[in-house]
Symmetry: C2
Subunit: 579 residues, 2 copies
């Protein structure tokens, strides 16, 4: 394809802070149509098609059957699983012309069960996996970062059905490996699987695939010592407190306006970990109060609290109504109707400062093991911290990073088959609900993530396996007859050889042409200029500067093909074997 | 793939009247999710993927750039073209979580202009064509026939942009040819292009691609003499009346309860073509009345009337309100505020019977040229009839058929670019609106149409180019060691050779196995049985019975590959050259 024919304009001005959004906008990859809704120009669609081809190959290789579910579904289908009511306004609900309630698919568990229902009634039909690559809509309140977080997106979603947990476990391992292969084939082998929160869905095991980057929305906990990896939401927080040799008595102390942990600790000349913090939430369903106490230097992990309560929650908006002394709440002498929880970080603490449950006063000398009832339960409700204890190897080695989630795999169990009444007959004639797994990858987010991970100041550095074009021919001074003839010839030769070639034969300056080429990101570039031709050569350069130099004109075609093979092999070398 | 692993069940019971819907349901190709909304099982998705590949190749070959537009679009985009208000409830409108008005894309002219706007500002950027293959939703009031008429469907839609009508004409010819190639490659070269109604869209030229079949919803007029083809909606009705030698005077005649043309003609002993019929409509916008007179044996063409009036219309619901004598309306002595139109079929008529504008009476001897004012205009507003005069060759040769529309191409002109304010600078520095063409094919409907055109009583006869699998191996008595070994070996050999093979190794009866194979429709079948093996052979049969017989086991693989080539070449032989 010729650069002059590509619809879309490239420009220099920095448009956005997030680099992938900036470069993909400046490179003419996409255009916003509405909040979190984009059209993709040809360069982006070509990348998407290549990723889709990889997804198909890897899904087919783990015995997946490609199917297609609808974008628009009747509400009744989502009511049959209970999610029509349980999911918030990210599920877009509307009425069709006949007044029937409908939804836009944000995921397709219900559709997968509906498809498999009645056609997989005996154990011999299992296991099987169905997948689709289809448009999804999730009414995100905060679309951001270009294709990183959008409302409409193309997704590969897969659903497997099994007759035993062991069979699901085996299949899950294969899917896990297939995902590693997908990211490696897409040129981002650095994507890591982390243990993730299974939420209230009833599943036991789930993983998110994360690309570590500062712009990520997720917090990832890793242990460089043992390889432990988890999403912060799902990471156990292991705390070992050293008790003071001597226990102080409880004693009220005037603290005046000091309310936050920082203020109180500073006033009393102690460190935050010698305090006990109170955090107040309300359950979404009935606004009832939940009060959590934890060590003052730690942060509450809302996901853990939600899972523990099996209720959605929000930070309390009106603490006064709860009859609680905001800023001075403490476990001693507390009189409240709120659900009160104690974090595991309080175990072994001694001589803490906590609220006195009255304005302007705190209490010194709080020792949970002495001052709380003997049957008090301690629950893990706080976030792990950098330098904290690894839940796997026990070393004080935890490291915290930011990551973009570029996929997830999930053991769903019988959550959906049970709710929707899908059963099969076992060998013994029993009726059972099949056990499910699900496996998702957002295509657009993966594109943006690859760009985020692989770019320089001038544009994306697309891996050869997903680059919109493998090679770009830059004909400097295309109005020079020799240049034009040589460039036209190479263009034709490479196209005939099945190479994906972009050809820039515009009469523009070298700077302008290279700037566009940088933004379009073909991994290999052939520069054809009067000067080079005079010495019988073209220049053959890598977009990422990993190679560059003259190549004899007669050898150019073969040299390009060899480079494509070399770059492709380098990507494939990092792809693990199939399971 | 093994038949036993395909999700979906095949069954014998006739499920629907329309054969493609019946066979595709019985064959496990699809499952209804809601009214006009389907999930596709793997066999259908494989066909769809093959058609999509053909579409991509043919669109790329006419310089198309694949892009992707969103399914969900802000209402503002559709307001910018005026269609948000002008289109009825087939455009699904809803609000997102923020209360913003949104629509589901049923077509993407606005999105195409939005994409091209600001990035095609000078004449040098033209022409270009962008296309997508994407899910669409059209809130059809009457979904029917399985994938024939649905609400959600996958569509290839393309949009070209030009700086002159001549350039659009040239491109339109190429697209026309590309469409012929697409249908021929999909195995339905019998699809014909017919002139279609351009409606009120401002375009000049449009064609629909029709597969002629009795279950079609469209009426197609063809001329076997000269090859003329048009949708009934867009077909001129040419009438040549022979005048009576003698004109009778106007004379009232008592007709009592006789009101319909049939009743009046029968009462008076004349043929329907010697009457003048009155038809009353109302404009949708203000319910104002429109009265059309035509020759009594003809039917009104609502599309022509709509286009002439430039208003949407509906049959009058309350004629009394119009002060018209229902059943006795006539052009003589008529006193009405309705818009009155005369069809061209009245030109040259003599001595007609028409209503007398009072109950129980008609008038005899109506001769339009004598009894209507001299400046009366006659407009073509009626439907062509079988045996009628061909508008192209003038012979009385018209034939009427039913057809399914499987695609359309359309010269849009500046309808959208003008409304949305998209301009480019000409060579002379003028600002102009680009001229557009658009080109659509519904993928699911094409699949169903191919099935409708190519099936027998037992299942679809998929053309080799789009068949879900090219070959099916039927291992009769797969529990026989020799059969299993031979079938396994051929399966592996063919798969290794890149052949798409379905393999049935279930322990089921031959009848059951063949019945499933008929429904799955692989064009080539290899039957491996103990008997055939005993004579050193497999059986190699065509699904459509065009060949069949023994092949030596050692030659089987090559024979299958040769048959695939042969069948593919037979399809390709009917594909016209590219333009």
């Amino acid at each position: 394809m010729k650069v002059k024919n590509i619809l879309g304009e490239r420009f220099k001005e920095r448009a956005f802070d997030i680099e992938s959004q900036n470069l993909m906008t400046r490179g003419g990859y996409m255009k916003q149509v509405g909040n979190g809704i984009y059209s993709l120009f040809t360069p982006a669609k070509r990348i998407q098609n290549k990723i889709e081809a990889i997804l198909r190959e890897e899904m087919d290789a783990i015995d997946g059957q490609e199917v297609l579910f609808p974008v628009v579904m009747p509400a009744t289908l989502w009511q049959s699983s209970g999610r029509y009511d349980s999911i918030g306004s990210e599920l877009l609900r509307f009425k069709d012309r006949s007044g029937a309630d409908m939804v836009l698919g944000m995921t397709h568990e219900e559709a997968a069960v509906q498809m498999a229902m009645n056609v997989a009634g005996t154990y011999q039909k299992y296991p099987f996996m169905i997948y689709q690559i289809q448009t999804k809509f999730r009414d995100e309140p905060r679309a951001r970062g270009g294709l990183i977080r959008v409302r409409e997106f193309t997704m590969k979603d897969a659903y497997s059905f099994h007759t035993s947990q062991e069979d699901l476990d085996r299949y899950y391992e294969r899917a896990y490996r297939a995902y590693e292969r997908i990211y490696a084939r897409a040129g981002v082998p650095e994507v890591i699987a982390v243990k993730s929160d299974s939420g209230m869905m009833g599943g036991k095991v789930s993983h998110e695939y994360m690309l570590l980057t500062d712009i990520g929305e997720d917090t990832i906990v890793t242990c460089p010592e043992c390889g432990f990896r988890a999403n912060m939401e799902a990471c156990d927080n292991i705390i070992e407190n050293v008790s003071d040799p001597e226990l102080m008595p409880l004693e009220e102390v005037f603290t005046g306006d000091a309310k936050t942990i920082d203020e109180v600790a500073s006033l009393l000349g102690i460190t935050n970990d010698k305090t006990c913090k109170a955090i107040v939430y309300q359950r979404n369903e009935d606004d009832s109060y939940v009060l959590v106490f934890c060590r003052g230097d730690l942060e509450l992990n809302e996901t853990k609290l939600t899972n523990y309560l099996k209720s959605k929650i929000h930070p309390a908006v009106d603490i006064e109504n709860a009859n609680l002394a905001a800023g001075n709440i403490g476990p001693v002498g507390l009189d409240t109707k709120a659900t009160v929880l104690y974090d595991r970080s309080l175990v072994g603490c001694t001589n803490l400062v906590c609220g006195a449950n009255k304005a302007e006063y705190h209490i010194k000398g709080f020792t949970p093991s002495r001052d709380l009832p003997g049957n008090t339960q301690f629950v893990d409700l706080t976030k792990a911290v950098a330098g904290g204890i690894c839940p796997k190897c026990g070393k004080r080695s935890l490291s915290i990073s930011r990551g973009i989630e570029v996929g997830n795999i999930f053991q769903l169990g019988t959550r959906y088959t049970e709710a929707m009444g899908m059963t099969y007959d076992t060998e013994n004639g029993e009726r059972k609900n099949p056990i499910m797994g699900c496996y998702g990858i957002g295509v657009g987010r993966l594109i943006a993530s690859v760009c985020e991970a692989h770019h320089d100041d001038y544009g994306p550095l697309w891996p050869i396996t997903i680059a919109p074009w493998q090679v770009e021919i830059c004909a400097l001074r295309a109005n020079d007859e020799n240049v034009k003839a040589a460039a036209d010839k190479l263009y034709k030769e490479l196209e005939d050889a099945g190479v994906e070639v972009l050809y820039d034969d515009r009469s523009v300056s070298a700077g302008f042409m290279f700037s566009d080429a940088d933004l379009l990101g073909a991994p290999i570039r052939v520069v054809i200029s009067p000067k080079a031709i005079a010495r019988g050569c073209f220049e053959l350069n890598a977009r990422d500067k990993s190679f560059g130099g003259d190549v004899a004109i007669a050898d150019a075609k073969e040299a390009v093909i060899a480079k494509i093979r070399e770059l492709t092999e380098a990507v494939n070398a990092k792809v693990p074997e199939r399971m």
